[in-house]
Symmetry: D2
Subunit: 300 residues, 4 copies
C-alpha cells in the first residue's frame, strides 16, 4: 500500500477509534430499543446514528443498526460484547458489535475488464472506501500494473472450468494467508464452486451487468439490445449458490434508446456497474447491510 | 366532450393546419435525404423538425421522420401523397404523410384501477394529448362517473375469459362505430384474442406494471417484493400476440427499499405507470414511433 | 366531502387509532434515546419506526421522530403527554405527540392554474394524502367546479395587492371557521402580508416553480430559458417573511434541452411542481418534518 | 502517450478516416436541407447522422449537424470545403467541415483537486474521449505523477493573482508550442484574464461545482449546505468574460438530505462534476455543440 494511503487510513482510524456499530436482528417485541439504548447509555456510549426496521408490526422480525461513540471502546470492546450478551440472549438476537477503526481486509477478484477494479481503487485512494485492500487475485495479467503501482499484492493464476477446484484451493490458501474478510468480484468471470461460496456466507459481493432479474445469465447487453429495452441497469448482490439469485444490495439504471448499439450499451453499463458496485462495497464495509432470507436491509 | 376541451382542440387544429409529418422506412442508400428534402422544397414545404436513424451504415435500414409546414397542405394532402409515391417507389419506402390537424381517435380500455385513465384524461384536458378521446370501454362501472362528467361515451360490458369472443365481437363493433384509430389499454386486465390483436397491428398500446422483461406475467409487484429489488419500473409497449413481448415504447423506474411493502410498491408503481403510459401515447399520437421488427425507433 | 372518500378516511382512522408520533428536538447529550424508549416501553408502546439525527456529535442538536403503537392511546393521549413532560423537561425538549388518526385539516389556496390543486385532490382521493381537505380558497372561479364536485367548500374572493389586508382579514376568518391546521399554496399567486405569515409559523407550504435558489422571484421559466439551463426544477418550502427563502422541504428536477421553448419548460415544470408539492404536503401531514433554523430535517 | 493508447487512437482513426462532420448555422428559410443534402449526395457522401433545430419556425435561426461518410474524404477535404462555400454563401451560413479522424489536441488545466483530471484520463484510456491529450498544465505538483505515468507532458508553473499576466504569457506560449485546440479547466482554481479568454472563444470548457445559476461564485457547497437544498449539482460551460455566466453545455444533480454535511456535499458533488465535465468534453470533441448567443445547442 502506498504510504499516502496508509497515512490517510491511519488518520481515519485515529479520529474514529471511539466509534463502533451494533447490528441486531431478532423477533419483534416491545422493549428492545429501550433495553439496547439503556445498555448503551450505562456503558457510556452516545448514539450517533440509529436505524431500525420491522418486517411486520404484528409478530415480524426486528432489525437495528446503531452507530455509537464511547470513550475507550477500542480497549474495552471485548468486555462490552460480554456484557451485551445478556441483553441479546433475552431477546434471542443475532448481533455483532464492530469497531469502526478495525478496517476490513478486502480481496478483489478481477479478470480482463478493469473498470470496476479501477473504480474501487479510485474510491479507495479518495478515502471513500475505508478498508485494507489486502490483495488482488486474477486469472489474467491485465490488472498487474495498476495494482502493483499502488503497492498492493497482485496474485495471478490461470483459471478455467477444467481446473476450477485446483484454482480455488490456491485461492482459499491466499485468502487465509492475507486474512481476508470480504471478497469483491469486480467482473471476475469465473463461476465459483458451492464449496467456495458456502465458506463465505454474505462475504462475497458480485456485480451483475443487468437490472436483475431482467437478464439473468450470459450476454445481458446483447439480450437487452435485442429486446429493445429503454433502460440499462446493473445489480450488486451477495453471491449464493443460486446463480445471480443472491440477495440484492444495490441496483441502478441509465436511459438508452434505439441509437445505442450493443457496444454503446456495454459502455453505458460499465459506468453503472462502477458506481453500483462501489456503493454496495462501501455499505458492506460500514456494516450497513443485514441479510434477511434472500433480501437485504440496507441502512444507508 | 366538454366544450372547453373541444375549443382547445379546435384552437390547436387551426394553428397547425399547415403542419404535416412524413414517416419513412427503407433500405439505406445514398441520396434518400437529398431526394426527400428536394421533394419537400419543390412542394413549398419548410422542414420544422427532422430525425433520422440507420440501423447500420453498411447495408442497414433507414428511418426518417420529418415534420414540415406547407401552405394549403390540408387541402392538397392527397395530391402531395400522390406525388411522393414516385420518390417512395424508387427507394422502396414504407411511408406515411399525416396531417397534424387530423386528430387520432382514441379508445381507452379500462377495468377497476383508474389511475392510468385519470392521468390520460388529465393530460388530455391540459392540452398535452392532442387527440379525440372517442370512447372509454370497460368491464366495470368504476370509471363511468369521471368519463361521463367529461361528456365522453362510456360503454360497459361484463367481460371474462369464458365470454371473451362475444365481448370482443361487441368491442370491435364499437371500435368501428366510433371510428377508433388507436386503442390504449389503461390497466385493462383482460387478455385479448389473437384475432383482436392481429386486427390492430401497432395500434394497441399497453402499460405493463414492471420493468420488462424483469417480471413478465402476473403479480409483478409481489414478485419484485419477494426478490428484494431496489428499483420498481413500468413498461409501455405495443401489444402483439406474444404476451408482454411486444415492441417496447417507453420504460421508467423509481427507487425503492426494504421498507416498502407490496402495497407501497404498487403505489409507487402506479405513479410510474401513469407517466410512462402518458408519454407512450403522446409519442404515438404525434407519429413519433416507427416499429422495426420487435423494437421501436422513437423520435422523441 | 364525497361519501366514498369519507369512508376511506374513516377506514384509515379505525385501522390506525392506536398509532401516534413523537417528535423531539433538544440539545444532544447521552441518554436521550434510552430515556424516551424506556418511557414508551413502560407506557405499553411498541416502536414501529424511529429516525434520529444529530447536527454535530460534539454539542449539536438532536432530533427524533418515533412512530409507535399503543393500545388505547386515542383515549389516554392526554395522560401520556402529561407523563412525557417530565422526560421532556429534563432534556429541554421541544416536542409533540400526535395521533395518526387525528387528521389535519387542510386549506388549499389556489388561483387560475389548477395543476397543483388537481394533483393534491387526486392523491387525496387515492388515499395517499391522509387529511381533511377543509376548504379551498381562491381569488378566481376556475377551481370551483372540480372542488365542489368533491363536496369540498369553495370560497371565492377577489384579491390583489390593493385590497390585500381586507382579503386576508376575510381569509383568516375562514381559516378559523373551518379550523384549518395547514395551508397549502397550490400556485396561489398573491404575496401574503407579514402578519398573515407570522400567524402560521411552519404551517404554510408553498410550491416555487424553480430549483431555488436558482431563479428566485418572478418568471423563473422565462429566465431559465434565457440562461439556457439543461435542468428545470421546482421547490416546496415553508413560507416565511423572506420571499422564497423559507426552509426547503423538497426539490426535484427534470432534464430539458435547447429544443424546449418557454412553454415546454412551463409544461415540464408543472409536472415537477405537482409531485414535489404532493410529497411535501404528505410529509407534513405525517409529521415527518422538523424545522431547524432555516432548514428542514425530513424523516421520510 | 503510452503506446497502447496511441494504438487505440490510431485504430479509431483508421476505421473512421472516411467520416466527417458538417456544422451549419444560418437564417432559416426553405430549401436549406435540400441544398445541403443534394450537395452531399453529389459529392458521394452518405449521411450517417443528422440533427437540426430552428429557434423559431417564423424567421428564426437554423442549425444543422450532419455526420457523413465519403470515400477519400481525408484527401479531398480541402476540395469539398471549397465546393461547399458556394452553397454556404447563398444561405449566409456560418459553417465548418471537420474530419472525424483529425483528433483535437487538448490541454487540461488542473490545480490540487484531481478527481476531474482523473476522470478525463480514465475515459480517455477507455477510448471514450477521442482526442490527443497534448499537455497538462498546473500551478501545483499534485498531478505530476499520474500525468507522467501516461507519458503526457506535465508543465508546472506557480500561479496566483499577483503574477497572473506573467503566468498566462507562459501558458499561451505552451498552448502554441503544443498546438492546442481546446482547453479544459478541470478544477483549475485561477481566474483567467479577459485577454486569455478572448483569445480562445468557445474553446475553454470549465466545470463549476454548482447547479448554475444557483450558487454563482465561491464556496457553492458551503452555501448549498447553509441553504438546506435537497439537490446538489454541477455545471459545465464555455468560459466567457462574465464569471460563471458562459453558455451552459451540461448540468446534472444528485439528491442529498439533512444528514449530508459540507464534506459529504463536496464528495457527492465531485462525482457529479466528473461525469458532467466528461460529457461536455466528449460532445465538444465530437463537434456536437453549437453556441448561439449565450446558449448551446447540443446535438447529443
Amino acid at each position: 500500500m502506498k504510504s499516502y494511503i496508509k497515512q490517510q487510513l491511519k488518520h481515519y482510524q485515529e479520529h474514529n477509534h471511539e466509534k463502533a456499530r451494533l447490528l441486531v436482528s431478532c423477533p419483534d417485541q416491545p422493549g428492545i430499543v429501550a433495553a439496547v439504548s439503556t445498555f448503551l447509555f450505562k456503558n457510556g456510549a452516545n448514539i450517533i446514528e440509529s436505524n431500525q426496521y420491522t418486517t411486520d408490526p404484528e409478530g415480524g422480525r426486528f432489525f437495528l443498526r446503531i452507530e455509537f461513540e464511547a470513550g475507550g471502546i477500542d480497549e474495552k470492546i471485548g468486555q462490552m460484547r460480554g456484557a451485551f450478551a445478556a441483553v441479546a440472549d433475552h431477546f434471542e438476537m443475532t448481533w455483532s458489535i464492530t469497531l469502526a477503526s478495525e478496517l476490513k481486509r478486502v480481496a478483489i477478484f478481477v479478470s480482463k475488464e478493469l473498470h470496476c477494479l479501477n473504480e474501487l481503487l479510485w474510491e479507495w485512494q479518495s478515502g471513500n472506501l475505508l478498508a485494507e485492500i489486502a490483495v488482488v487475485i486474477s486469472n489474467h495479467e491485465d490488472a498487474r500494473e495498476v495494482v502493483e503501482s499502488l503497492n498492493i499484492p497482485f496474485l495471478y493464476m490461470k483459471a478455467n472450468k477444467d481446473i476450477r477446484e485446483e484454482v480455488e484451493k490456491q485461492q482459499l490458501k491466499w485468502l487465509e494467508e492475507y486474512r481476508v474478510d470480504v471478497i469483491v468480484l469486480a467482473r471476475y468471470m469465473q463461476i465459483l464452486t458451492p464449496e467456495f461460496v458456502s465458506a463465505h456466507p454474505h462475504k462475497i459481493i458480485n456485480i451483475h451487468h443487468s437490472f436483475l432479474p431482467a437478464f439473468i445469465g450470459a450476454n445481458p447487453y446483447k439480450r437487452a439490445y435485442e429486446r429493445g429495452v429503454k433502460l440499462i441497469g446493473a445489480t450488486s448482490h451477495y453471491v449464493t449458490n443460486e446463480l445471480d439469485e443472491g440477495p440484492i444490495i444495490e441496483q441502478d439504471i441509465e436511459r438508452v434508446d434505439h441509437r445505442d448499439h450493443v457496444e454503446d450499451l456495454k459502455n453505458i453499463g460499465r459506468t453503472i456497474e462502477r458506481s453500483v458496485l462501489a456503493r454496495a462495497v462501501k455499505w458492506h464495509l460500514e456494516d450497513r447491510i443485514i441479510v434477511h432470507g434472500n433480501k437485504t436491509i440496507v441502512f444507508s
